[in-house]
Protein backbone atom coordinates (compact mmCIF):
# COMPACT_ATOMS: atom_id res chain seq x y z
CA UNK A 1 0.00 0.00 0.00
CA UNK A 2 2.85 2.33 1.00
CA UNK A 3 4.50 1.54 -2.33
CA UNK A 4 1.36 2.36 -4.34
CA UNK A 5 0.99 5.64 -2.43
CA UNK A 6 4.62 6.52 -3.09
CA UNK A 7 4.22 5.75 -6.81
CA UNK A 8 1.06 7.88 -6.88
CA UNK A 9 2.71 10.75 -5.03
CA UNK A 10 5.68 10.77 -7.40
CA UNK A 11 3.48 10.52 -10.50
CA UNK A 12 1.23 13.32 -9.26
CA UNK A 13 4.26 15.53 -8.67
CA UNK A 14 5.46 14.78 -12.22
CA UNK A 15 2.00 15.60 -13.63
CA UNK A 16 2.03 18.87 -11.71
CA UNK A 17 5.51 19.82 -12.97
CA UNK A 18 4.71 18.76 -16.54
CA UNK A 19 1.73 21.15 -16.37
CA UNK A 20 -0.72 18.30 -17.00
CA UNK A 21 -2.79 19.44 -14.04
CA UNK A 22 -2.89 23.00 -15.36
CA UNK A 23 -3.75 21.89 -18.90
CA UNK A 24 -6.53 19.53 -17.74
CA UNK A 25 -8.05 22.13 -15.40
CA UNK A 26 -7.89 24.86 -18.04
CA UNK A 27 -9.56 22.62 -20.63
CA UNK A 28 -12.39 21.56 -18.33
CA UNK A 29 -13.00 25.08 -16.98
CA UNK A 30 -13.04 26.65 -20.41
CA UNK A 31 -15.45 24.16 -21.96
CA UNK A 32 -17.72 24.13 -18.91
CA UNK A 33 -18.04 27.90 -18.90
CA UNK A 34 -18.77 28.01 -22.61
CA UNK A 35 -21.42 25.31 -22.19
CA UNK A 36 -23.12 26.91 -19.22
CA UNK A 37 -23.27 30.21 -21.08
CA UNK A 38 -24.69 28.56 -24.22
CA UNK A 39 -26.96 26.19 -22.29
CA UNK A 40 -28.89 28.92 -20.50
CA UNK A 41 -31.38 29.52 -23.34
CA UNK A 42 -33.63 26.41 -23.31
CA UNK A 43 -34.28 26.44 -19.56
CA UNK A 44 -37.70 27.99 -19.65
CA UNK A 45 -38.96 25.81 -22.46
CA UNK A 46 -38.11 22.54 -20.66
CA UNK A 47 -39.29 23.67 -17.25
CA UNK A 48 -36.32 22.04 -15.52
CA UNK A 49 -33.95 23.82 -13.20
CA UNK A 50 -30.96 25.37 -14.81
CA UNK A 51 -28.31 23.07 -13.26
CA UNK A 52 -30.05 19.92 -14.54
CA UNK A 53 -29.91 21.36 -18.04
CA UNK A 54 -26.25 22.23 -17.60
CA UNK A 55 -25.59 18.67 -16.40
CA UNK A 56 -27.12 17.31 -19.60
CA UNK A 57 -24.83 19.54 -21.67
CA UNK A 58 -21.83 18.66 -19.50
CA UNK A 59 -22.56 14.96 -20.05
CA UNK A 60 -22.22 15.39 -23.80
CA UNK A 61 -19.03 17.35 -23.24
CA UNK A 62 -17.56 14.82 -20.81
CA UNK A 63 -18.08 11.97 -23.28
CA UNK A 64 -15.54 13.66 -25.57
CA UNK A 65 -13.25 15.44 -23.16
CA UNK A 66 -12.76 12.98 -20.29
CA UNK A 67 -11.48 10.12 -22.49
CA UNK A 68 -9.25 12.58 -24.36
CA UNK A 69 -7.65 13.96 -21.19
CA UNK A 70 -7.26 10.43 -19.79
CA UNK A 71 -5.56 9.15 -22.93
CA UNK A 72 -3.29 12.21 -23.10
CA UNK A 73 -2.10 11.54 -19.56
CA UNK A 74 -1.66 7.81 -19.92
CA UNK A 75 -0.13 7.16 -23.35
CA UNK A 76 3.33 8.13 -22.08
CA UNK A 77 3.06 6.31 -18.74
CA UNK A 78 5.00 3.16 -19.69
CA UNK A 79 6.43 3.97 -23.13
CA UNK A 80 7.98 7.10 -21.59
CA UNK A 81 9.64 5.03 -18.87
CA UNK A 82 10.98 2.66 -21.51
CA UNK A 83 12.30 5.53 -23.63
CA UNK A 84 13.92 7.39 -20.74
CA UNK A 85 15.49 4.15 -19.54
CA UNK A 86 13.97 4.45 -16.08
CA UNK A 87 11.97 1.22 -16.24
CA UNK A 88 14.70 -1.43 -15.61
CA UNK A 89 15.76 0.18 -12.33
CA UNK A 90 12.15 0.58 -11.15
CA UNK A 91 11.46 -3.08 -11.87
CA UNK A 92 14.34 -4.20 -9.63
CA UNK A 93 12.60 -2.59 -6.65
CA UNK A 94 10.34 -4.78 -4.53
CA UNK A 95 7.04 -3.72 -6.06
CA UNK A 96 4.92 -5.57 -8.59
CA UNK A 97 3.99 -4.33 -12.02
CA UNK A 98 0.35 -4.16 -10.89
CA UNK A 99 1.39 -1.87 -8.05
CA UNK A 100 3.27 0.39 -10.49
CA UNK A 101 0.14 0.70 -12.64
CA UNK A 102 -2.16 1.24 -9.66
CA UNK A 103 0.11 4.03 -8.40
CA UNK A 104 0.01 5.77 -11.76
CA UNK A 105 -3.76 5.27 -11.96
CA UNK A 106 -4.37 6.83 -8.55
CA UNK A 107 -2.28 9.87 -9.49
CA UNK A 108 -3.92 10.35 -12.87
CA UNK A 109 -7.44 9.89 -11.48
CA UNK A 110 -6.57 12.54 -8.89
CA UNK A 111 -5.50 14.97 -11.65
CA UNK A 112 -8.75 14.22 -13.44
CA UNK A 113 -10.75 14.77 -10.26
CA UNK A 114 -9.18 18.19 -9.77
CA UNK A 115 -9.92 19.20 -13.37
CA UNK A 116 -13.51 17.90 -13.18
CA UNK A 117 -14.16 19.54 -9.83
CA UNK A 118 -12.94 22.86 -11.20
CA UNK A 119 -14.90 22.61 -14.45
CA UNK A 120 -18.17 21.22 -13.07
CA UNK A 121 -17.92 23.38 -9.97
CA UNK A 122 -17.71 26.55 -12.00
CA UNK A 123 -20.59 25.45 -14.22
CA UNK A 124 -22.70 24.73 -11.13
CA UNK A 125 -21.84 28.09 -9.65
CA UNK A 126 -22.80 29.88 -12.86
CA UNK A 127 -26.11 27.97 -13.01
CA UNK A 128 -26.91 28.69 -9.38
CA UNK A 129 -26.26 32.39 -9.83
CA UNK A 130 -28.74 32.49 -12.72
CA UNK A 131 -31.43 30.31 -11.11
CA UNK A 132 -31.93 29.70 -7.37
CA UNK A 133 -33.83 26.45 -8.04
CA UNK A 134 -30.52 25.07 -9.37
CA UNK A 135 -29.77 23.26 -6.09
CA UNK A 136 -32.24 20.61 -7.23
CA UNK A 137 -29.72 19.61 -9.89
CA UNK A 138 -26.91 18.90 -7.40
CA UNK A 139 -27.48 15.11 -7.19
CA UNK A 140 -27.27 14.91 -10.99
CA UNK A 141 -24.05 16.92 -10.93
CA UNK A 142 -22.53 14.65 -8.27
CA UNK A 143 -23.53 11.59 -10.33
CA UNK A 144 -21.89 13.15 -13.36
CA UNK A 145 -18.73 13.85 -11.35
CA UNK A 146 -18.08 10.35 -10.06
CA UNK A 147 -19.18 8.61 -13.25
CA UNK A 148 -16.80 10.89 -15.18
CA UNK A 149 -13.98 9.63 -12.97
CA UNK A 150 -14.99 6.03 -13.69
CA UNK A 151 -15.04 6.81 -17.42
CA UNK A 152 -11.63 8.45 -17.02
CA UNK A 153 -10.28 5.34 -15.27
CA UNK A 154 -11.41 3.20 -18.24
CA UNK A 155 -9.46 5.29 -20.70
CA UNK A 156 -6.47 5.63 -18.37
CA UNK A 157 -6.28 1.84 -18.23
CA UNK A 158 -6.68 1.61 -22.00
CA UNK A 159 -3.94 4.23 -22.40
CA UNK A 160 -1.57 2.22 -20.19
CA UNK A 161 -2.28 -0.89 -22.23
CA UNK A 162 -1.50 0.94 -25.49
CA UNK A 163 1.59 2.46 -23.88
CA UNK A 164 2.86 -0.99 -22.88
CA UNK A 165 2.01 -2.50 -26.26
CA UNK A 166 3.76 0.10 -28.39
CA UNK A 167 6.77 0.76 -26.09
CA UNK A 168 7.47 4.06 -27.88
CA UNK A 169 5.69 7.28 -26.89
CA UNK A 170 5.12 8.31 -30.53
CA UNK A 171 3.51 4.96 -31.36
CA UNK A 172 1.45 5.03 -28.17
CA UNK A 173 0.20 8.54 -28.98
CA UNK A 174 -0.96 7.39 -32.42
CA UNK A 175 -2.76 4.39 -30.98
CA UNK A 176 -4.40 6.58 -28.32
CA UNK A 177 -5.75 9.03 -30.89
CA UNK A 178 -6.99 6.08 -32.93
CA UNK A 179 -8.77 4.59 -29.93
CA UNK A 180 -10.39 7.91 -29.10
CA UNK A 181 -11.60 8.43 -32.67
CA UNK A 182 -12.85 4.87 -32.91
CA UNK A 183 -14.70 4.56 -29.62
CA UNK A 184 -15.95 8.13 -29.19
CA UNK A 185 -16.62 9.41 -32.69
CA UNK A 186 -16.83 6.63 -35.27
CA UNK A 187 -18.58 4.08 -33.04
CA UNK A 188 -21.63 6.34 -32.55
CA UNK A 189 -21.65 7.37 -36.20
CA UNK A 190 -21.61 3.70 -37.19
CA UNK A 191 -24.47 2.89 -34.82
CA UNK A 192 -26.47 5.83 -36.13
CA UNK A 193 -25.96 4.75 -39.71
CA UNK A 194 -26.99 1.19 -38.84
CA UNK A 195 -30.11 2.46 -37.06
CA UNK A 196 -31.14 4.51 -40.07
CA UNK A 197 -30.53 1.62 -42.46
CA UNK A 198 -32.32 -0.87 -40.19
CA UNK A 199 -35.37 1.39 -39.80
CA UNK A 200 -36.82 -0.16 -36.66
CA UNK A 201 -35.96 -3.78 -37.49
CA UNK A 202 -34.21 -6.46 -35.44
CA UNK A 203 -30.95 -4.50 -35.16
CA UNK A 204 -32.72 -1.65 -33.40
CA UNK A 205 -34.47 -3.86 -30.88
CA UNK A 206 -31.95 -6.69 -30.24
CA UNK A 207 -28.42 -5.57 -31.13
CA UNK A 208 -28.42 -1.83 -30.63
CA UNK A 209 -28.93 -1.73 -26.83
CA UNK A 210 -26.09 -4.17 -26.34
CA UNK A 211 -23.88 -2.22 -28.71
CA UNK A 212 -24.51 0.90 -26.64
CA UNK A 213 -23.67 -0.91 -23.39
CA UNK A 214 -20.52 -2.41 -24.89
CA UNK A 215 -18.95 1.02 -25.35
CA UNK A 216 -17.93 2.62 -22.03
CA UNK A 217 -18.50 6.14 -23.37
CA UNK A 218 -22.05 5.30 -24.46
CA UNK A 219 -22.72 3.50 -21.20
CA UNK A 220 -21.58 6.65 -19.39
CA UNK A 221 -23.92 8.82 -21.44
CA UNK A 222 -26.84 6.43 -21.02
CA UNK A 223 -26.34 6.21 -17.28
CA UNK A 224 -26.29 9.96 -16.77
CA UNK A 225 -29.18 10.72 -19.10
CA UNK A 226 -31.35 7.81 -17.96
CA UNK A 227 -30.78 8.77 -14.33
CA UNK A 228 -31.91 12.35 -14.90
CA UNK A 229 -35.14 11.80 -16.82
CA UNK A 230 -35.93 15.49 -17.14
CA UNK A 231 -33.28 16.02 -19.79
CA UNK A 232 -33.73 12.90 -21.86
CA UNK A 233 -35.05 15.08 -24.64
CA UNK A 234 -31.62 16.60 -25.11
CA UNK A 235 -29.98 13.29 -25.78
CA UNK A 236 -29.61 12.41 -29.46
CA UNK A 237 -28.70 8.72 -29.64
CA UNK A 238 -30.05 7.72 -26.27
CA UNK A 239 -33.52 8.62 -27.45
CA UNK A 240 -33.40 5.40 -29.42
CA UNK A 241 -32.05 3.51 -26.43
CA UNK A 242 -34.70 4.49 -23.90
CA UNK A 243 -35.32 0.85 -23.22
CA UNK A 244 -31.93 0.41 -21.54
CA UNK A 245 -32.27 0.77 -17.77
CA UNK A 246 -29.81 2.86 -15.76
CA UNK A 247 -28.56 -0.15 -13.78
CA UNK A 248 -27.44 -1.92 -16.96
CA UNK A 249 -25.48 1.14 -18.03
CA UNK A 250 -23.99 1.41 -14.55
CA UNK A 251 -22.93 -2.26 -14.58
CA UNK A 252 -21.18 -1.77 -17.89
CA UNK A 253 -19.52 1.38 -16.60
CA UNK A 254 -18.37 -0.38 -13.43
CA UNK A 255 -16.92 -3.39 -15.27
CA UNK A 256 -14.98 -1.43 -17.88
CA UNK A 257 -12.30 0.06 -15.57
CA UNK A 258 -11.52 -3.43 -14.25
CA UNK A 259 -11.29 -4.83 -17.77
CA UNK A 260 -9.09 -1.95 -18.96
CA UNK A 261 -6.77 -2.29 -15.99
CA UNK A 262 -6.53 -6.07 -16.44
CA UNK A 263 -5.63 -5.47 -20.07
CA UNK A 264 -2.99 -2.94 -19.04
CA UNK A 265 -1.46 -5.33 -16.50
CA UNK A 266 -1.38 -8.13 -19.07
CA UNK A 267 0.30 -5.88 -21.65
CA UNK A 268 2.77 -4.52 -19.08
CA UNK A 269 3.75 -8.05 -18.00
CA UNK A 270 4.92 -8.70 -21.56
CA UNK A 271 7.31 -5.75 -21.57
CA UNK A 272 10.93 -6.89 -21.22
CA UNK A 273 13.10 -4.03 -20.03
Amino acid sequence: MMRIISMAQTEFRIALRNRWVAVAVAMMVLFSLVLSAAGSAPTGALGADRLSVVVASLTSLAVYLVPLVALLMSFDALAGEVERGTLPLLLTYPLSRTEILLGKLVAHVAVLAIALAAGYGLAALAAWMGDDRALAGLPALWRLFWSSMVLGAVFLGAGYALSALSRRPSGAAGLAIGLWLGLIVLYDLGLLAALVADDGGRFTTDVFPWAMLANPADAFRLFNLAASGATAAAAGLSGAANSIPAWAALTSLALWPLAALALAVAAFRRVTP
Partner: protein, 299 residues
Protein backbone atom coordinates in the same frame (compact mmCIF):
# COMPACT_ATOMS: atom_id res chain seq x y z
CA UNK B 1 27.96 -17.39 2.69
CA UNK B 2 27.16 -17.34 -1.02
CA UNK B 3 24.98 -14.45 -2.14
CA UNK B 4 24.87 -15.30 -5.83
CA UNK B 5 25.27 -18.62 -7.61
CA UNK B 6 25.07 -19.12 -11.37
CA UNK B 7 25.53 -22.61 -12.72
CA UNK B 8 25.68 -23.53 -16.38
CA UNK B 9 23.73 -20.41 -17.26
CA UNK B 10 22.76 -20.17 -20.92
CA UNK B 11 20.75 -17.44 -22.62
CA UNK B 12 19.87 -17.28 -26.31
CA UNK B 13 18.53 -14.35 -28.32
CA UNK B 14 17.06 -15.43 -31.66
CA UNK B 15 19.07 -18.65 -31.65
CA UNK B 16 22.37 -16.90 -30.88
CA UNK B 17 24.10 -17.59 -27.59
CA UNK B 18 24.29 -14.41 -25.55
CA UNK B 19 25.56 -16.39 -22.59
CA UNK B 20 26.90 -19.92 -22.82
CA UNK B 21 27.40 -22.25 -19.86
CA UNK B 22 28.48 -19.57 -17.37
CA UNK B 23 29.09 -20.70 -13.80
CA UNK B 24 29.98 -18.21 -11.13
CA UNK B 25 29.45 -17.51 -7.47
CA UNK B 26 29.91 -14.42 -5.34
CA UNK B 27 30.33 -14.70 -1.57
CA UNK B 28 29.38 -12.19 1.09
CA UNK B 29 31.93 -9.37 1.28
CA UNK B 30 33.48 -10.33 -2.04
CA UNK B 31 34.01 -7.83 -4.86
CA UNK B 32 33.95 -9.43 -8.28
CA UNK B 33 34.66 -7.57 -11.52
CA UNK B 34 33.01 -8.66 -14.73
CA UNK B 35 35.18 -7.81 -17.72
CA UNK B 36 34.45 -8.12 -21.40
CA UNK B 37 34.04 -6.28 -24.69
CA UNK B 38 30.78 -4.61 -25.60
CA UNK B 39 28.39 -7.43 -26.39
CA UNK B 40 30.32 -9.99 -24.34
CA UNK B 41 27.21 -10.63 -22.24
CA UNK B 42 27.94 -8.60 -19.11
CA UNK B 43 24.68 -6.63 -19.07
CA UNK B 44 22.66 -9.69 -20.07
CA UNK B 45 24.14 -11.63 -17.16
CA UNK B 46 23.27 -8.80 -14.78
CA UNK B 47 19.70 -8.52 -16.06
CA UNK B 48 19.22 -12.25 -15.53
CA UNK B 49 20.55 -11.96 -11.97
CA UNK B 50 18.07 -9.11 -11.36
CA UNK B 51 15.18 -11.11 -12.80
CA UNK B 52 14.56 -8.56 -15.57
CA UNK B 53 14.97 -11.19 -18.28
CA UNK B 54 14.53 -14.95 -18.14
CA UNK B 55 17.32 -17.44 -18.85
CA UNK B 56 17.08 -20.52 -21.02
CA UNK B 57 19.21 -23.13 -19.25
CA UNK B 58 21.06 -23.57 -16.00
CA UNK B 59 20.17 -22.32 -12.54
CA UNK B 60 20.41 -18.92 -10.88
CA UNK B 61 20.12 -18.40 -7.14
CA UNK B 62 20.09 -14.91 -5.67
CA UNK B 63 20.24 -14.69 -1.86
CA UNK B 64 18.95 -18.25 -1.78
CA UNK B 65 15.86 -17.38 -3.85
CA UNK B 66 14.84 -17.15 -7.50
CA UNK B 67 16.01 -14.02 -9.37
CA UNK B 68 13.31 -11.34 -9.39
CA UNK B 69 11.43 -12.89 -6.46
CA UNK B 70 10.37 -10.53 -3.70
CA UNK B 71 13.03 -11.94 -1.39
CA UNK B 72 15.76 -11.41 -3.98
CA UNK B 73 14.55 -7.91 -4.85
CA UNK B 74 14.43 -6.95 -1.17
CA UNK B 75 18.14 -7.56 -0.77
CA UNK B 76 19.58 -6.65 -4.17
CA UNK B 77 20.56 -3.16 -5.33
CA UNK B 78 21.16 -2.31 -8.97
CA UNK B 79 22.92 0.53 -10.71
CA UNK B 80 22.18 0.34 -14.45
CA UNK B 81 24.57 1.48 -17.12
CA UNK B 82 23.76 5.14 -17.99
CA UNK B 83 21.26 5.35 -15.16
CA UNK B 84 18.29 7.67 -15.87
CA UNK B 85 15.66 9.40 -13.76
CA UNK B 86 12.65 11.57 -14.46
CA UNK B 87 14.05 15.05 -15.15
CA UNK B 88 11.16 16.81 -13.39
CA UNK B 89 11.99 15.37 -9.96
CA UNK B 90 14.67 16.68 -7.63
CA UNK B 91 17.41 14.38 -6.36
CA UNK B 92 15.87 14.35 -2.92
CA UNK B 93 12.35 13.54 -4.21
CA UNK B 94 13.68 10.71 -6.36
CA UNK B 95 15.69 9.14 -3.53
CA UNK B 96 12.76 9.63 -1.10
CA UNK B 97 10.55 7.70 -3.55
CA UNK B 98 13.05 4.83 -3.76
CA UNK B 99 13.34 4.77 0.04
CA UNK B 100 9.56 4.42 0.41
CA UNK B 101 9.49 1.66 -2.23
CA UNK B 102 11.88 -0.27 0.03
CA UNK B 103 9.61 0.44 3.02
CA UNK B 104 11.99 2.96 4.63
CA UNK B 105 11.22 6.52 5.79
CA UNK B 106 11.75 9.19 3.14
CA UNK B 107 13.64 11.35 5.65
CA UNK B 108 16.82 9.37 4.93
CA UNK B 109 17.15 10.88 1.44
CA UNK B 110 19.29 13.84 2.45
CA UNK B 111 21.82 11.65 4.30
CA UNK B 112 22.18 9.35 1.29
CA UNK B 113 22.74 12.28 -1.05
CA UNK B 114 25.30 13.74 1.36
CA UNK B 115 27.10 10.40 1.35
CA UNK B 116 27.61 10.56 -2.43
CA UNK B 117 28.50 14.26 -2.34
CA UNK B 118 25.23 15.59 -3.75
CA UNK B 119 23.93 17.29 -0.62
CA UNK B 120 24.10 20.77 -2.12
CA UNK B 121 22.15 19.81 -5.25
CA UNK B 122 19.53 17.74 -3.40
CA UNK B 123 16.68 20.15 -4.12
CA UNK B 124 17.52 20.84 -7.74
CA UNK B 125 15.73 18.99 -10.52
CA UNK B 126 17.62 16.01 -11.94
CA UNK B 127 17.10 17.52 -15.41
CA UNK B 128 19.73 20.12 -14.48
CA UNK B 129 22.30 17.53 -13.30
CA UNK B 130 25.47 16.55 -15.17
CA UNK B 131 26.07 12.92 -16.16
CA UNK B 132 28.39 12.45 -13.20
CA UNK B 133 25.76 13.81 -10.80
CA UNK B 134 23.10 11.48 -12.22
CA UNK B 135 25.50 8.60 -11.75
CA UNK B 136 25.84 9.62 -8.11
CA UNK B 137 22.06 9.69 -7.67
CA UNK B 138 22.20 6.15 -9.07
CA UNK B 139 24.80 5.19 -6.51
CA UNK B 140 22.77 6.81 -3.71
CA UNK B 141 19.71 4.70 -4.59
CA UNK B 142 21.89 1.58 -4.70
CA UNK B 143 23.06 2.25 -1.14
CA UNK B 144 19.50 2.25 0.28
CA UNK B 145 19.05 -0.11 3.19
CA UNK B 146 22.55 -1.69 3.01
CA UNK B 147 21.89 -4.29 0.28
CA UNK B 148 23.28 -7.81 0.58
CA UNK B 149 24.12 -8.01 -3.11
CA UNK B 150 24.98 -5.06 -5.33
CA UNK B 151 24.91 -5.34 -9.11
CA UNK B 152 26.68 -2.39 -10.71
CA UNK B 153 26.83 -2.01 -14.50
CA UNK B 154 29.73 0.28 -15.48
CA UNK B 155 29.31 2.21 -12.24
CA UNK B 156 32.16 4.68 -12.69
CA UNK B 157 31.43 5.78 -16.26
CA UNK B 158 31.01 9.55 -16.27
CA UNK B 159 32.73 10.02 -12.92
CA UNK B 160 35.91 12.08 -12.58
CA UNK B 161 38.99 10.47 -10.96
CA UNK B 162 38.31 11.92 -7.51
CA UNK B 163 34.68 10.76 -7.55
CA UNK B 164 35.87 7.32 -8.66
CA UNK B 165 38.15 7.08 -5.67
CA UNK B 166 35.30 8.12 -3.34
CA UNK B 167 33.03 5.63 -5.07
CA UNK B 168 35.40 2.71 -4.50
CA UNK B 169 35.92 3.82 -0.90
CA UNK B 170 32.15 3.48 -0.37
CA UNK B 171 32.19 0.03 -1.99
CA UNK B 172 35.10 -1.06 0.24
CA UNK B 173 33.07 -0.02 3.27
CA UNK B 174 30.03 -2.00 2.11
CA UNK B 175 32.12 -5.09 1.30
CA UNK B 176 33.68 -4.93 4.76
CA UNK B 177 30.13 -5.07 6.18
CA UNK B 178 29.42 -8.20 4.14
CA UNK B 179 27.79 -6.89 0.96
CA UNK B 180 28.62 -8.96 -2.10
CA UNK B 181 29.47 -6.79 -5.10
CA UNK B 182 29.32 -7.72 -8.76
CA UNK B 183 30.44 -4.91 -11.04
CA UNK B 184 31.34 -4.55 -14.68
CA UNK B 185 33.86 -2.10 -15.99
CA UNK B 186 35.88 -1.06 -19.00
CA UNK B 187 38.41 0.76 -16.84
CA UNK B 188 40.65 -2.23 -16.27
CA UNK B 189 43.38 -0.48 -14.28
CA UNK B 190 40.69 0.70 -11.89
CA UNK B 191 39.23 -2.70 -11.03
CA UNK B 192 42.74 -4.15 -10.74
CA UNK B 193 43.30 -2.63 -7.31
CA UNK B 194 39.69 -2.54 -6.17
CA UNK B 195 38.28 -6.03 -6.61
CA UNK B 196 39.05 -9.44 -5.18
CA UNK B 197 38.36 -11.48 -8.26
CA UNK B 198 37.86 -11.02 -11.98
CA UNK B 199 35.68 -12.84 -14.45
CA UNK B 200 36.43 -12.37 -18.13
CA UNK B 201 33.53 -12.91 -20.54
CA UNK B 202 34.07 -13.22 -24.25
CA UNK B 203 31.31 -13.89 -26.74
CA UNK B 204 29.00 -14.99 -23.93
CA UNK B 205 31.42 -17.56 -22.52
CA UNK B 206 33.50 -17.28 -19.39
CA UNK B 207 37.11 -17.47 -20.57
CA UNK B 208 38.92 -16.82 -17.31
CA UNK B 209 38.20 -16.35 -13.63
CA UNK B 210 40.40 -15.67 -10.63
CA UNK B 211 42.38 -13.13 -8.65
CA UNK B 212 44.70 -10.95 -10.71
CA UNK B 213 47.80 -12.89 -9.53
CA UNK B 214 46.25 -16.22 -10.65
CA UNK B 215 45.31 -14.83 -14.04
CA UNK B 216 48.77 -13.37 -14.46
CA UNK B 217 50.40 -16.75 -13.72
CA UNK B 218 48.01 -18.60 -15.99
CA UNK B 219 48.43 -16.20 -18.91
CA UNK B 220 52.21 -16.52 -18.52
CA UNK B 221 52.83 -13.39 -20.54
CA UNK B 222 56.42 -12.13 -20.90
CA UNK B 223 57.83 -9.58 -18.48
CA UNK B 224 59.30 -6.46 -20.03
CA UNK B 225 62.58 -5.23 -18.61
CA UNK B 226 63.87 -1.77 -19.56
CA UNK B 227 67.48 -0.90 -18.72
CA UNK B 228 68.88 2.65 -18.85
CA UNK B 229 72.60 2.56 -19.63
CA UNK B 230 74.90 4.70 -17.44
CA UNK B 231 77.08 5.91 -20.30
CA UNK B 232 75.48 6.43 -23.70
CA UNK B 233 76.36 5.20 -26.32
CA UNK B 234 79.32 3.18 -25.03
CA UNK B 235 77.41 1.15 -22.41
CA UNK B 236 74.45 0.75 -24.73
CA UNK B 237 76.49 -1.36 -27.11
CA UNK B 238 77.90 -3.45 -24.26
CA UNK B 239 74.42 -4.14 -22.90
CA UNK B 240 73.00 -5.04 -26.31
CA UNK B 241 75.84 -7.55 -26.77
CA UNK B 242 75.58 -9.00 -23.25
CA UNK B 243 71.81 -9.43 -23.18
CA UNK B 244 70.57 -11.73 -25.96
CA UNK B 245 67.25 -10.73 -27.47
CA UNK B 246 67.50 -7.13 -26.30
CA UNK B 247 66.73 -4.16 -28.50
CA UNK B 248 67.40 -0.47 -28.32
CA UNK B 249 64.34 1.73 -27.75
CA UNK B 250 65.27 5.38 -27.58
CA UNK B 251 67.95 5.63 -24.91
CA UNK B 252 66.88 2.41 -23.23
CA UNK B 253 67.76 -1.22 -23.83
CA UNK B 254 64.62 -3.32 -23.64
CA UNK B 255 64.07 -7.07 -23.47
CA UNK B 256 61.20 -9.44 -22.76
CA UNK B 257 61.45 -12.73 -20.92
CA UNK B 258 59.09 -15.44 -19.73
CA UNK B 259 58.00 -15.43 -16.09
CA UNK B 260 60.23 -18.36 -15.11
CA UNK B 261 63.33 -16.87 -16.76
CA UNK B 262 62.89 -13.58 -14.96
CA UNK B 263 65.33 -14.27 -12.12
CA UNK B 264 68.08 -15.58 -14.40
CA UNK B 265 67.83 -12.53 -16.64
CA UNK B 266 67.83 -10.16 -13.69
CA UNK B 267 70.98 -11.95 -12.37
CA UNK B 268 72.71 -11.37 -15.67
CA UNK B 269 71.69 -7.68 -15.63
CA UNK B 270 72.92 -7.33 -12.03
CA UNK B 271 76.35 -8.55 -13.22
CA UNK B 272 76.49 -5.50 -15.50
CA UNK B 273 75.63 -3.05 -12.76
CA UNK B 274 78.49 -0.62 -13.44
CA UNK B 275 77.10 -0.06 -16.94
CA UNK B 276 73.51 0.61 -15.70
CA UNK B 277 71.94 3.82 -14.42
CA UNK B 278 68.44 2.46 -13.80
CA UNK B 279 66.26 -0.58 -14.32
CA UNK B 280 62.52 -0.84 -14.73
CA UNK B 281 60.52 -4.09 -14.61
CA UNK B 282 57.05 -4.02 -16.13
CA UNK B 283 54.81 -7.02 -15.40
CA UNK B 284 52.09 -7.68 -17.97
CA UNK B 285 49.25 -5.21 -17.41
CA UNK B 286 45.65 -6.17 -16.85
CA UNK B 287 44.98 -4.97 -20.40
CA UNK B 288 47.54 -7.50 -21.70
CA UNK B 289 46.07 -10.32 -19.62
CA UNK B 290 42.56 -9.38 -20.66
CA UNK B 291 43.40 -9.35 -24.38
CA UNK B 292 45.29 -12.61 -23.96
CA UNK B 293 42.23 -14.43 -22.60
CA UNK B 294 39.76 -12.71 -24.93
CA UNK B 295 41.89 -13.46 -27.99
CA UNK B 296 42.40 -17.07 -26.98
CA UNK B 297 38.63 -17.44 -27.05
CA UNK B 298 38.64 -16.33 -30.66
CA UNK B 299 37.70 -12.66 -30.32
Amino acid sequence: MTMLTLSHLTKRFDGLNALCDVSLSVAAGERVALLGHNGAGKSTLMKIVLGLIAHDEGTVEVLGAAPGSTRARDGVAYLPENVAFHPALSGREQIAHYLRLRGLPASGARALLDRVGLGDAANRRIGTYSKGMRQRVGLAQALIGTPRLMVLDEPTSGLDPVSRRDFYAILDGLAAEGTAILLSSHALTEVEARTDRMVILSGGAMVAEGALGDLRRRADLPVRIAVTPSDIPCSTTTLLMALPGSEQEGEQVVLSCAQDEKLAVLGRIAGLSERIADIDIQPPSLEDIYSHFSRRAGQ
